[in-house]
Symmetry: C2
Subunit: 233 residues, 2 copies
DNA sequence: CACGCTAGGTGTACGGTGTACGCCTGTCAA
DNA sequence: TTGACAGGCGTACACCGTACACCTAGCGTG
């Protein structure tokens, strides 16, 4: 009997194959499953083999991020600048939503790869096309922050308690919560349209994202039209 | 001769002492130095001893974050709402700047401690005091994102290359860079007021922070005055 | 006083991580 | 035919978080 019962087919690696395998692995087992060992096993290869294609772990995840960023589709050049920017950013968002781990990977990785720079350059170019000064463009991009990668920080994300405590305990906690953090409660109630049962259930992140994006794009345009210059500095 | 030559004095731990030691250690050796082993050694104690005061590593860093957040000073209640909010957020910022690791710790930790909730509640309360609806308050807080903790994502942060490459190599890279990422270059030039030698040197983060904060607070106020309601939803 | 409970520090061990270093082999150009 | 070299292998190291069992000092109570 043939003895290669182990993992999948194995025909010579290259950097690209490694990265794609890493992405696939992260896609369906989470970023934590992407350890050098785990990935190697997934490829039917010994861990150290990966280092022939990738300098270290950090470069691996940078590469994974590049793959995701590669899925961003450039907006129709005919679009007015604000629409174009919105389109590009929302495309980025769709990409990171397809790969839920990408968010963490982007925040964590320190490397500025060409792909990363290219995206930043494209966004900057979008504002410049609208006539904003380099300075204003710079500040607005800072204000956008991670939103240029298609995500915003998860402020109200709940880790989802393993199992909900007993109803009456929940009741008691709720009462305590209500008097200690009345404003948070108010917000949560408003966010869930009064459906108190799912108060911890998170927000409509897509709405929040677009709300903030619009707020910032409008703010940028307003400052630009008001003739903003970096005099304040 | 007394045989306790080892680390510092050692008089019974308690949770508070552990947390303060962890903060101190992080303050002058970085967050990575705060491993259970490292911290334990620093306290002249065996690693597992810490677990008598802290459930796990995650709770440790949550506790450290609480210590930092505890340094935030509440704004003068006589202040108008926008000034009060600005003051609170800038105080938060001063706190995390005193503890450079706090930024990463906040992003990384998943726990919602009472201290964290209290701060969020205070910020929410600030907007409510200005008359904003719970809904609008909610969205604006999302838009503020991590800025309510006093920091914004480090978009343009350079990892600082171990040693700068040779000048002529730098020149060549510069040329390549200029034609591949013209808009980034533009921005960098503007940000450094034309001093090209320190293009990679980072931005004036404080300015960026306040710029974005102002933009968002103004945007919130404008929406509020325009009678914003959550109809769009 | 003697008791036993308990808070808190100890020791050992396990399974995980990234990765440095040296070896071995198949492919291909000269 | 040869020899360089790309690429996969094996071993080993240092470090991480933490489960589990143990020991001991101090204290409130019978």
């Amino acid at each position: 009997m043939p003895r290669d019962a182990a993992p999948p087919r194995r025909e010579r690696l290259d950097r690209d194959r490694v990265l794609r395998a890493a992405v696939a692995l992260a896609d369906d087992s989470g970023l934590d499953a992407v350890s050098m060992r785990g990935l190697a096993q997934h490829l039917g290869v010994v861990p150290m083999a990966l280092y022939k294609h990738v300098a270290d772990k950090d470069e691996l995840v940078s590469g994974m991020v590049d793959v995701v960023l590669g899925e961003i589709e450039p907006p129709d050049p005919a679009l007015p600048w604000k629409e174009a920017l919105r389109a590009r950013v929302l495309s980025a968002r769709r990409a990171v939503l397809r790969h839920p781990w990408a968010r963490r990977a982007i925040e964590g990785s320190t490397r500025r790869t060409p792909t990363v720079l290219a995206h930043m350059d494209a966004v900057a170019g979008g504002f410049r096309a609208g006539g904003l000064s380099p300075d204003l463009t710079h500040h607005v991009m800072h204000a956008l922050g991670n939103r240029i990668w298609g995500f915003s920080p998860e402020l109200f994300e709940e880790p989802a308690p393993a199992e909900p405590p007993s109803p009456e305990q929940q009741e008691a906690m709720g009462r305590e919560f209500a008097q200690r953090y009345p404003h948070i409660l108010e917000i949560a109630v408003a966010a869930t349209r009064g459906d108190l049962s799912r108060v911890g259930g998170g927000c409509d992140e897509q709405f929040e994202f677009e709300f903030a994006l619009e707020l910032l794009l409008d703010g940028a345009e307003r400052l630009h039209r008001a003739g903003w210059a970096s005099a304040a500095r």
